[in-house]
Amino acid sequence: MIQKDLGTYAANTWCPGCGDFAILNAIKSVLKSLNEEGLPLEKVVLVSGIGCHGKIVDYINVNSFYSIHGRVPPAAEAIKIARPDFKVIGFAGDGDAYGEGVEHLIFAAKRNIDITMIIHNNRVYGLTTGQYTPTSPLGFKGRSTPFGTLEVPINPLELMFSSGATFIARGTSHGIDLLKKLFKEAILHKGFSLVDVLQVCVTFYNMYEYYEKRVYELKDHNPEDYNQAFGKIREWDYNKDSPIALGVFYKKDSPTFEDKFAGLQPKETIDRDSKIAHLLKSFS
């Protein structure tokens, strides 16, 4: 299965123009550059959810774990805990990560496990042909809400912020250079990192122009300043028509779960049989 250029023989079945291509190309380029800088690719594991986004792992020729819908984080966490020397990168949809399995995202952030979550946030269920998601704006007319949703969206960055994520960023699928920068920084960040990608779904929710008009890159922003971070995170709530900042919103150094865990784990030295025998003695 060794293919050049990190690709595989799987036929790409995303719609032409889909924002997922940008994510694919950005991550491939980041992996290549990390590899050049010394990261062995066999120490990379990609984990994905179910949705259009999930197909990404079929298109990249590195280790992968194609999980079930909504369940990227716990698998990624376990892989990282088992192999702290690995880089574990999760790809999830907005339906997948902010809806079906949002609890896992919250707890992965809370634990500050050093995994990177890249959210293909097209604000719609792509693969199931166009229903609203937790980040669709109020009034969104999808196939399950033909008369418009009645719920305001969540602001996933704010949710992650309140859950303890130590790296929070946002990009769009129309800014691949920024994506590369953000992905790389997120992967290199020691701790839980999340990059929310405003990924355009050309078929069910084409926000290309909407975003084009409103996005801007964060400048003179100190992501290590809690209040600045919070202010910028709240600037756009995924509903109102405000400017939309891109870049790293927040970044914090904090001990990771797997490091603390490893600290608890002495290496096994004597053989288990004698230890079992010893333990059994204490039970009599």
């Binding site: 299965m1 060794i2 595989t8 023989y9 799987a10 062995p40 066999e42 120490k43 594991v45 984990v47 179910i50 197909k55 792992v57 079929d58 020729n61 590195v62 280790n63 992968s64 774990f65 194609y66 999980s67 079930i68 369940r71 716990p74 698998a75 990624a76 966490e77 376990a78 892989i79 805990i81 088992a82 192999r83 690995f86 399995g101 609890e103 896992h104 919250i106 707890f107 865990f261 608890l264 784990q265 002495p266 290496k267 096994e268 288990r272 049989d273 230890k275 079992i276 025998a277 333990l279 059994l280 003695k281 039970f283 009599s284």
Partner: protein, 554 residues
């Protein structure tokens, strides 16, 4: 007196459980074999809770209804259980609390409230005081009690010993428990046996969300995690649990999880994923009476068909139901080995009686099974995670291997693990996954998947599974009949089961459910039992009760 039972009762929070274990350890030092049945409601304080500590010169794993000695911390204990006493007067009680008309010459009352007050001891030490009184009453030397207390309850040991000694001194000898010549054995709960068996099988990670009756396995493994370098994790939910286990398996680490019915429901999607992705995982399922929250601290056997069929799609799974602590230990090791060899989910189907029952554990009765490695990639050809082989087993390597790319997939996939919708590949892969069932069934033969007890040539046979083993074997031995107990439930060991049935004219199926789930299972193979003896109030059969019910059929 080489087979006797002590009922220790009080309110939740009185330390009944601990007291039972202390008494059991004392009797263990005298050479007795032990079984403890623990009956408690889903309450932290109050209510009525009791342990029955049965001691015998023979190995046992069931309780009796007839009680030899009652130790009562509250009135309920005497009122509810005195009718079970063989000798109506063999009881000790806290005379400051028990408001029962016991008659002047009957039993021994200890003014425990007063004793505690004088010693400035906390209420939780009432049980120690009563144990002291008990030891004197049955002629057990103080030094033995002191040793056990020091070991079991190191906290505030001095006051505790003082209180216990007062109980000892204010009691009197009623009867004498003899010291036996045999050595004591470790006392293990079923969950501890399962935990040790998993450790023996190479367990690296245990992940669980607390749920009776599986929680004590989590607590036990967390407690010994440093000794055995185990990663023990309690995540946000059972969904997180099973997905973490699969993540560990992907990384090459042997992981197990534990839960009960409701939590297992939440794991079924992950179970099916394990089937598809061929990621091994061991699930300890402790049954309790349902549906739903049901009777959370009691026992049942209602998940047999659920575990056999849980998860969408068809895939190979191993299901075993051990019957006592030795089997729990053995089959936990086997489950982990075979889950990895065949890359299938394995379910240890236990229940509250086995999980929380306490047994004298005899390692010499356990067949020696070592940790066995999975089938590994020979490195000769390009690595294919789902190589289609004759046995259905695809050799393993793991992420991190420089020469391989390891892709697992919840979609139907080709040999490399790339998603496919091709009808021919889908059919071939489905066959490959199901083919493993044959090789697994074949391999299981070497572990004797069906066990037989009692009188081998009897024409009456009790058929049972799981924790009913102990009570059925004892009843069968008493009545001179046979017991047939399949430990493996999937792949079902049909041939062995049929062989065991040879010569049986009347079979009686004993189960803790309302519909006869095992009886229904064998119908599938054209077999049937003649009678069903069912009980589904959450309480285990006692030897006396089951004996009566079986007698009605033979």
């Amino acid at each position: 007196m080489n087979d006797f039972s002590i009922l220790f009762g009080g309110k939740a929070g009185d330390g009944i459980d601990r007291a039972g274990v202390v008494i059991a350890r004392i009797l263990n030092r005298l050479g007795y074999r032990i079984y403890i049945y623990r009956d408690y409601p889903s309450i932290i304080r109050g209510g009525h809770t009791f342990s029955i500590i049965r001691a015998s010169s023979n190995k046992i794993s069931a309780h009796l209804n007839r009680i030899d000695f009652i130790l009562a911390l509250n009135t309920d204990t005497l009122n509810l259980h005195r009718n079970k006493l063989k000798n109506n007067c063999l009881f000790l009680y806290d005379s400051d609390q028990v408001k029962a008309d016991v008659g002047p010459t009957c039993g021994i009352g200890l003014a425990i409230g007063k004793i505690l007050k004088e010693a400035n001891a906390p209420q939780v030490m009432r049980n120690s005081c009563l144990i002291g009184g008990f030891c004197k009453a049955v002629g057990i030397e103080w030094t033995i009690l002191e040793e056990v207390l020091r070991k079991e309850i190191p906290k505030d040991i001095d006051i505790n010993l003082k209180v216990s000694r007062r109980g000892y001194d204010e009691s009197r000898e009623l009867i004498k428990i003899e010291r036996l010549t045999q050595e004591g054995l470790p006392l293990l709960s079923g969950n501890e046996a399962i935990g040790l068996g998993l450790i023996k099988g190479g367990l690296k990670d245990y992940i669980a969300y607390p749920m009776s009756p599986s929680s004590s396995l989590l607590h036990f493994l967390a407690g010994v995690s440093k000794e055995f370098s185990l990663k023990v994790i309690h995540p946000e939910s059972e969904i997180g649990v099973i997905l973490m286990a699969l993540g560990f398996a992907y990384a090459g680490e042997r992981a197990a999880v534990g839960t009960s019915g409701g939590g297992f429901c939440l794991m079924t999607e992950g179970l099916s994923f394990a089937g598809m992705s061929e990621l091994p995982v061991v699930i300890m399922l402790g049954q309790r009476p349902g549906p739903s929250t049901g009777l959370p601290t009691y026992s049942g056997q209602t998940e047999l068909h659920f575990v056999l069929n849980a998860g969408q799609g068809e895939f190979t799974r191993l299901v075993v139901a051990p019957g006592d602590s030795e089997e729990a230990y053995l089959w936990s090791t086997i489950s982990l080995n075979l889950a990895w060899k065949y890359q299938v989910p394995a379910i240890i189907l236990s229940d509250k009686n086995l999980c929380e029952g306490v047994y004298s554990f005899d390692m010499s009765l356990v067949e020696d099974v070592k940790e066995e490695g999975p089938v590994l990639w020979d490195r000769k050809t390009t690595y294919k995670r789902y190589l289609d082989t004759e046995t259905g087993i695809s050799p393993l390597t793991f992420a991190g291997d420089k020469e391989a790319i390891v892709k697992i997939d919840s979609y139907e996939h080709d040999e490399f693990g790339i998603t496919t919708e091709d009808p021919n590949i889908a059919t071939a892969m489905q066959k490959k996954r199901l083919r493993k069932e044959n090789s697994l069934a074949e391999e299981l033969k070497r572990f004797r998947p069906v066990r037989v007890y009692g009188k081998a040539d009897s024409e009456f046979g009790i058929v049972c599974w799981g924790s009913n083993k102990g009570v059925c074997v004892e009843v069968a031995e008493n009545l001179g009949i046979k017991v047939i107990m399949p430990v493996v439930l999937s792949p079902f060991p049909l041939k062995e089961f049929q062989e065991a049935l040879l010569g049986i004219k009347k079979s009686i199926c004993v189960e803790n459910n309302a519909t006869g789930q095992f009886a229904r299972l064998i119908n599938r193979y054209g077999l049937s039992v003649d009678e069903k003896v069912l009980k589904y109030d959450g309480r285990p059969f006692s030897v006396d009760e089951l004996g009566e019910r079986i007698k009605g059929h033979i």
